[in-house]
């Protein structure tokens, strides 16, 4: 912005305030006159919008009103809460702390019951993420992961119940397959995309479902991945609160969709380590599915069958 022009404008306004005409003040700034003229004319117009005087009736009326108000205040007819002068800062601080504590607790409690699409749902997921990061014990971490996995299933069921359309991502057990309509942990899903090696996914397999709920009460699948094949010893399907793992002859522990807390608590020194191995095995299977799914599925099922054979 041109500082000379700004200063010249102010100087011209001051001169005009002292009664000089527009043309006479512009004569002092011939090189800026073209730019200054419209601004000074606008200034004159802006000043013309101001009233010259206030109607005397208004002033008298308001002055009388002010005196009456002052009298009322003096006589205590209008309460102005003197205590606020002294206690306001303390009350404000205590109120702020109280509201902060109560609202943070309240919000956290409320967010725990939120489902995808709710305002507080991102907070719920953030809290879960933080909980996972704070847990250093691997067994406890697995318990949390399974708990959160169950929550995703319950959230999806809630979305279906209220017919809300939202993106979902959950892990569950295939409990029935009828063409493109499957039942995964009690959730009806419709396979709308070509699933690689879908012939390898069978009833009892754990799968990760990504898709979206729709108004018909189903989940339209946009991506499907196998996370764990069913084992011969795994006697039941679906998400359950009962233990579903059976100790293997070799001492390995196996995971189903929802192992209970007790099933994940190490009972001897090698068990937790085995669980980590199993988890890594699952992750490697998922990665394999993404990049070279065919071989991975085949290998994993073969391994599982081999274990069953043992």
């Amino acid at each position: 912005m041109n500082k000379k022009l700004i200063d010249a404008l102010d100087a011209c306004l001051q001169k005009m305030d002292h009664g000089e005409s527009l043309d006479s003040v512009l004569a002092g700034y011939p090189h800026l006159a073209a730019a200054l003229r419209p601004l000074l004319i606008t200034a004159v117009r802006a000043r013309s919008a101001s009233r010259e005087s206030i109607p005397r009736t208004i002033l008298l009326r308001q002055r009388s009103r002010g005196l009456a108000l002052a009298e009322d205040l003096r006589q205590g007819k209008i309460h102005y809460k003197v205590y606020r002068r002294y206690f306001r800062p303390a009350v404000a601080v205590l109120s702020a702390i109280f509201i902060l504590v109560m609202s943070s607790n309240g919000i956290l409690v409320a967010s725990a019951h939120s489902i995808p699409g709710d305002t507080l749902y991102p907070l719920k997921r953030s809290v879960e993420s933080t909980q996972l990061q704070l847990v250093s014990n691997l067994a406890q971490r697995h318990v949390l992961e399974q708990t959160f996995s169950e929550r995703r299933v319950e959230e999806t069921k809630s979305l279906i119940t209220i017919r809300r359309i939202e993106d979902v991502d959950f892990t569950g057990v295939v409990t029935s397959q009828s063409g493109d309509e499957w039942l995964v942990s009690g959730i009806p899903v419709v396979i709308t995309v070509q699933v690689d090696k879908d012939e390898r996914i069978e009833i009892g397999d754990d799968i990760d479902v990504q898709g979206s709920t729709d108004i018909t009460g189903t989940v339209k699948v946009i991506h499907l991945s196998l996370t764990k094949v069913s084992g011969a010893e795994e006697g039941h399907l679906g998400l359950s609160s009962t233990p579903t793992s059976s100790p293997k002859p070799s001492g390995e522990s196996d995971f189903t969709a929802t192992p209970t807390e007790s099933s994940l608590i190490p009972t001897h020194s090698g068990e937790a380590e085995n669980q980590v191995d199993q988890s890594n095995h699952q992750q490697s299977m998922m990665l394999g599915e993404n990049h070279s799914s065919g071989e991975t599925f085949h290998t994993s099922r073969t391994n599982s069958e081999d274990e069953s054979d043992q």
Binding site: R45, A46, R47, S50, L59, Q62, G66, L69, I78, Y80
Partner: protein
């Protein structure tokens, strides 16, 4: 070519220091002090609000509320310790902005304009539409700071120093703001006239 003259029609204001001393001595809302302060400042506040809103009835109501707030503040001991005019203008500004926000949320309040138009005669109506209405419409489209600087500099006739003091900005900032406000108003008036 028309020659423009910037007439200064503002009444001579009392010294702020004198009023402040009188106001301090009369912390218990002495009638004489209130009369003096009302006589001195009510027109200024009224002018300010009227300039911002272009409505006499609203200007009276809001100015009245400003002084009621001041009386309550003085009685409770929270009144301004210095610069009473700045305090009153600041309170008026808040109330004006509140009113504009309410009006924006509830546009039906604009019925007051219709009432005012009915009261005006034909010649006044034509004049109002041709000049004042266009000007106030253009001003209302500026930013809040630009409206404020125009109201204080050209509506109230305050100096750069007084305006800077009330707006809590440096004088150079007020100069630049004034320049931008006049530029923007010039463009707006040009559009309104097209």
């Amino acid at each position: 070519m028309d020659d423009y003259v910037l007439t200064n029609h503002y009444p001579i204001r009392l010294s702020m220091i004198d009023l402040h001393l009188e106001y301090d001595r009369q912390g218990d809302l002495d009638a004489q002090a209130i009369t003096t302060i009302y006589s001195h400042y009510f027109p200024e506040i009224f002018h300010y609000v009227q300039y911002r809103l272009s409505d006499d009835m609203l200007a009276e109501d809001i100015s009245s509320e400003v002084f009621f707030c001041w009386l309550k503040a003085v009685k409770s001991g929270d009144g301004p310790a210095k610069n009473l005019r700045g305090w009153l203008i600041g309170a008026a500004r808040h109330l004006v902005v509140d009113h504009i926000r309410r009006k924006y949320r509830h546009p039906s309040e604009a019925i007051s304009d219709a009432i005012k138009s009915d009261e005006a005669g034909p010649s006044e109506l034509v004049e109002h539409c041709d000049t004042s209405h266009i000007l106030h419409t253009a001003i209302s489209q500026l930013t809040e700071d630009q409206q404020q600087v125009l109201a204080l500099r050209f509506g109230q006739g305050y100096s750069l120093e007084e305006t800077a003091d009330i707006m809590k900005k440096k004088i150079n900032a007020i100069k630049a703001l004034q320049f931008r406000a006049l530029n923007a108003l010039h463009r707006r008036i040009g559009k309104e006239n097209e």
